[in-house]
Amino acid sequence: MPAFDDLAAGDIVAEQSFALTRDSLVRYAGASGDFNPIHYRDDIAHQVGLPGVLAHGMLTMGFAVQPVVDWAGDPGRIVDYQARFTRPVVVDPKLGAVVQVIAKVGQLDAESRAARIDLTVKVGDETVLGKAQARVLLD
């Protein structure tokens, strides 16, 4: 369990890459109930002008916070979480897509012993989630 007093703004607290495949998208569609076909059908994705089948924005948001959950040790410590969907994640049928997450301390609130953790979420050099921030209660 991370201790609030040991943290400083700018500290990297977690780093992880996620390898997405089409299977990941189908699994998330079933788990979340979001069956928009742009997340599994190439023909429909192309028809609506997309470069290919996209990961659900909520899937990317969902796994991007997991390194923070593991660092905090308890999913219940994440009391606020937000993100902007700045760029779609195209998932190639053969190659998939790799999403890199870096979690850094953005701000510390001594009164409530909470840390704002800022997430950098990228595919290659491109940021896919903007203003991705989680507020985490610490001891």
């Binding site: 699994r27 079933g30 899937l59 997991q66 959950v69």
Partner: protein, 146 residues
Amino acid sequence: MNPELQGRTFPPTEPYLVGREKVREFARAVFATNPINLDPEAARAAGYADVVAPPTFAVVVQERTLAQLLAEPDSGIDFSRVVHGDQRFTSTRPIVAGDLLTATLTVSSVKTLGAHSMVTAESSIVDASGAHVVTAISTLVVRGED
């Protein structure tokens, strides 16, 4: 989009019973590996009644309110042009398997930016006792005609 949607509150959704296997299924789908998400024993050891849902699980309940919004006859929202702009979850406590949740949607803002419109939808999710659990806030962007 109909600007008069701003400020509109919808009727509460049918109660949603959070199942343990649903939480585990969702947790696996978002690559969660924390035992508190997956193992009832680990969750109890951490002080919870059952497995704890991942931070974005509320979207499953919120989705029912967004369906209400898109089905509203006078919304003027063309579903095929809707893009998810941003998302936020503000929690009072985490969702735990066994919770019976009800969501109430309020359209907090409707804006037009050039050809595009943006609607911000806030779904307040409460438990069986009426206590607040989490508010899920989505901004949906409705793209204008090309």
